[in-house]
């Protein structure tokens, strides 16, 4: 291994992606800040700015734009690192994809900002935004596909050059994530192209609401795995290196990713358990498939802690939990990801509650769901991406993550954790302790 860094074209590509991600991030969090004060009645928005406008911007910019751009920056650098330098075509098509994605992003964001698309990031029909908002969404997806296919092309070149060899784990996981993404997007592309765009431009009279929601959730659930799998790549491949260990089991890691592809797509109905128009049998079938996702999730959890314990014992940890103290807690790159993992425990448990037929009745359409979202995507995924940022950005810019910056990183992290926790959500036991009945919105005077 001669060069530490990846070639310049890939560095520029990845840095552009990460840069756009963080621009979206800071605007999105600012919207989040405004929201809590509006809900608190502490802040009155000017007449030209609407709460739902800000909420839409917050959701789209953080959950969709920040994550996606960051993920592609991470993939591009990792694919170049593990499979070798990109050819000129791969670089070109990655740029083409990145530019299309950015145009789509700007178009959709402009529509939100000028108040033409306050439809929240799930853009449920029959709420109707300006047609150009949907065109922006379509361009965004197409752009990510172009980048995806460019990366798959790079992988195929490698496979041809190394016949019969197993690809590096990072590359395998990247391709798995891309496979998931492309299959998932078929649903959203179908509904946006054939339902929303003709309807929003007035070429078609009405819209089939139930069909549009079902196609959306066909995409919407694997979408969360598209966010989660890159975080899992960091957990499986990066974290063991940071603590000085090895991957627990190569085949287990690969199998887990394949199970995620299989069981994260045919499950969208668990977001629609209260909707009429879908027979219970199909809801039940998809709920069963949903619960299969617990298998690869637990495989991930146990193998990661096995890596931690093995490494902690190598470093001289004694007794049942002595290894725990030996982990590199002062390394913010590790600590922020470890905390992210801890949050996934209540996050996952909450998810099981949400997907359960009866318990879904209790929490449906309440702030609980917002809480679930914030401690799954908002904390484990985003915190993992921050942990990755701390080495990926200096790696790409060839600069030093200085001691003083590292010290600054710790409070940033801890605060994010503390507050995300109590933000809107706490474990289910609170309900039992307080004995409060689960009132719902319905039937109460608003």
């Amino acid at each position: 291994m001669t060069a530490v860094s990846i070639p310049n074209p890939e560095r520029k590509l990845a840095l552009t992606n990460v840069g756009i991600a963080y621009i979206a991030f800071i605007i999105g969090t600012l919207c989040g800040l405004l929201q809590v004060f509006i809900r608190n009645d502490a802040l009155q928005l000017p007449a030209w700015l609407d709460y739902y406008q800000i909420l839409t911007a917050h959701g789209v910019l953080l959950a969709l734009i920040f994550t996606t751009f960051f993920i592609f920056g991470f993939f591009q650098s990792g694919m170049s690192k593990t499979l070798g330098a990109f050819g000129p075509k791969v670089v070109l098509w990655n740029w083409v994809g990145l530019i299309i994605t950015t145009i789509g992003t700007v178009l959709a964001t402009v529509m939100i900002v000028i108040g033409e698309a306050s439809v929240l990031y799930t853009f449920y029909a029959p709420m109707m935004a300006n047609g150009f908002f949907y065109i922006g969404l379509a361009l965004f997806v197409i752009g990510t596909w172009v980048q995806s296919f460019a990366l798959v092309g790079h992988y195929r070149v490698w496979r041809k050059a190394n016949p019969g060899e197993q690809s590096p784990l990072f590359a395998f996981m990247t391709v798995a994530t891309i496979v998931l993404w492309v299959i998932a997007c078929l649903g959203v592309v179908a509904t946006v192209l054939f339902q929303f765009i003709p309807w929003a431009f007035g070429w078609q009279e009405g819209i089939n609401v139930e069909l549009s929601r079902s196609l959306f959730w066909y995409f919407g659930h694997p979408l969360v795995y598209f966010w989660l799998l890159p975080a899992y790549i960091a957990w499986y491949v990066i974290v063991p290196k940071l603590i000085g260990g090895k991957v627990f089991s190569d085949s287990l890691a690969r199998l887990a990713f394949i199970l995620f592809i299989l069981f994260s797509i045919p499950v969208g109905f668990h977001h629609q358990l209260t909707e009429p128009g879908i027979a219970s049998f199909w809801k039940f079938l998809q709920t069963v498939l949903t619960f299969m996702v617990i298998v690869p999730s637990l495989m991930t959890a146990f193998s990661l802690f096995a890596v931690f314990e093995t490494r902690g014992r190598e470093l001289g940890g004694k007794g049942l939990f002595g290894w725990f103290t030996k982990l590199p807690w002062k390394d913010v790159r590790f600590t922020s990801i470890f905390v992210a993992m801890l949050f996934f425990i209540p996050g996952g448990a909450g998810g099981i509650i949400n997907a359960s037929f009866q318990m879904n009745e209790v929490i449906h359409n309440t702030l609980w769901v917002v809480g679930h979202f914030h401690i799954t995507v908002g904390t484990p995924v985003a915190m993992t991406f921050f942990g990755v940022t701390f080495w990926l950005v200096p790696y790409l810019t060839k600069r030093v993550f200085t001691k003083s910056l590292q010290r600054l990183a710790f409070p940033a992290d801890h605060h994010l954790v503390d507050r995300h926790a109590s933000h809107e959500y706490s474990p289910a036991c609170a309900w039992i302790i307080r004995g409060a009945p689960p009132y719902r919105l319905y039937g109460l005077p608003a």
Binding site: V239, T366, T397
Partner: protein, 124 residues
């Protein structure tokens, strides 16, 4: 936690008048003051994070060869990994079959028994 008491999501205002609704927002942990405090700290942290990213992009000292940041990839022994795990045709095929099983019939139902289409609403 507010959710468990039934507070709705995605609402701009929470000025409900009914006493049941009012009770959701009593207490130290479950009111909108904590939410606002949390949100503020959260934003402060986000600002620090972005400051760090900006520093690392343009202002942090340039690395020498010796202290150059590495891309940390852990060793993974793929010696015993079964070949079939990287046979994408198999897995994509199974995924498509599962999707077809779970979706074909209900989607056909939705299309064949569709109610009249809805016009668009602008609720804001």
């Amino acid at each position: 936690m507010l959710g468990l008491f039934g507070a709705p999501r995605r609402t701009a205002y929470t000025g409900y008048q009914h006493e049941d609704a009012q009770s959701w927002f009593e207490g130290v942990l479950s009111n909108h003051v904590t939410m606002a405090v949390g949100g503020s700290i959260l934003f402060l942290s986000a600002a620090i994070l972005v400051f760090i990213v900006v520093q690392l992009t343009w202002f942090a000292p340039e690395a020498e060869h010796a202290n150059q940041e590495i891309f940390p990839v852990a060793v993974s022994d793929s010696g015993g990994t079964p070949r079939i795990l990287e046979n994408w045709k198999v897995w994509i095929g199974i995924a498509l079959v599962l999707i077809a099983i779970a979706y074909t019939v209900p989607i056909m139902d939705m299309i064949q028994h569709a109610p009249p289409g809805s016009k668009g609403f602008q609720t804001w």
